[in-house]
């Protein structure tokens, strides 16, 4: 555990250190370049801000209105047919659309069923092996202002389904 902590804490400082040392050795105008890049960072962030506002309000409403719980209750009987653990369903539904609420739900699942129980392990694996798909697609497409995103949402959601099913399967096989 300590080793893992050490390695993960090392990653960022080491990356910056290596780049700056290389810059010094190769006589790059380091700070001028840093400023130039940082300015571009402001532009990119500002271009995605409106998307974030819109997206967060819609997702917040989806959760707080109770419609999401309704949908989850609706699909639960189907899950029993395919032997998918229904405890995981709220997480599976929220994972692609909201990062912060999926963390909250995963934590809740681990609290209720035990961190080291099979359900807890499955929830952890899902959190680690998938991303907040909708958010990623929204910011990656809005920063360049494309209108047509073709089939990216469908494929990404399909990949999420594969990820969640694989997580459940892997945890069941390994435990």
């Amino acid at each position: 555990m300590q080793m893992v902590n050490f390695i993960s804490n090392l990653a960022m400082p080491l990356m910056i250190l290596i780049i700056v040392i290389y810059g010094v050795l190769e006589k790059v105008k380091i700070f001028d370049n840093f400023l130039e890049g940082a300015k571009e960072g402001i532009k990119i962030t500002m271009s995605i801000f409106p998307t974030l506002i819109g997206l967060f309000v819609a997702i917040g409403a989806l959760r707080s209105s109770g419609i999401l719980d309704l949908i989850i209750n609706f699909v639960t009987p189907l899950l029993n047919v395919v032997n998918f653990p229904k405890e995981i369903m709220p997480l599976a539904m929220l994972r692609p659309i909201s990062g912060s609420s999926s963390i909250a739900i995963a934590t809740d699942i681990m609290k209720n069923y035990g961190v080291d129980s099979q359900i807890g392990i499955i929830a952890s694996t899902i959190m680690g092996s998938t991303e907040t798909t909708l958010y990623t697609i929204a910011i990656y497409t809005s920063c360049i202002k494309v209108k047509k995103i073709r089939f990216v949402l469908g494929v990404a959601l399909l990949a999420d389904v594969i990820g969640i099913v694989t997580s459940v399967a892997v945890c069941r096989i390994m435990s």
Binding site: M1, I7, S8, A11, M12, M15, I18, I19, Y22, G23, V28, N33, F34, E36, G37, A38, E40, G41, I42, I44, T45, I48, F49, L52, L55, F56, V57, A58, G60, A61, S64, S65, G66, I67, M110, K111, V115, D116, S124, T125, M127, G128, S129, T130, E131, Y140, T141, C143, I144, V146, F151, V152, L153, V155, A159, I162, G163, S167, V170, M174
Partner: protein, 194 residues
Amino acid sequence: MLNIVWPIFVIISFSYGIFSGNLENLNSSVFNSVNDAINLTISLLGTMCLWCGIMQIANKTSVIDKLTKILKPLIRIIFPKINTKIEKEISMNMIANILGLGNAATPLGLKAMKSMQEENPKKEILSDSMLMFIIINTASIQIIPTTVIAIRNSMGSSNPTAIVVPIWIASVITATAGIIITKIFIKLDKKEKK
């Protein structure tokens, strides 16, 4: 996408909220969400400036060339038609993702998207490389899944890192499946246009 998804989300959740009498929650969630978006943007602004600045330095050195060389065979298979500048930016994004530096991966990824847009002949439509790039970024491949380990640790797990191997297996399978499905869809899309 959001032109379709956003109104659906708003209409179903607001009308359900009104009918189910869940109005107080709905009202407070609107303001909370706006605050969340602002908080995220402010923290993103910081990391974005930092990493775009660091990346700009890195671009002037040979360190990226060296890192890109390691990932080149893989990138060549996944992205058949991109120039070396984009190749570099994509590999930096991948490295940040693999190292679990989500804060760095997003800025680097957005930068790569901008460069790909410059090469994109049809500015209104996502190019094949962009599609593939987004799919890879929606799959999360990292050596050490720090967030999950931290959560498990805080909840008193007897073995917080027990999920590392299952996460590796699940994320590699998911990413591979995502890449293959995207490749197939790109091919089908081309055939349709012909």
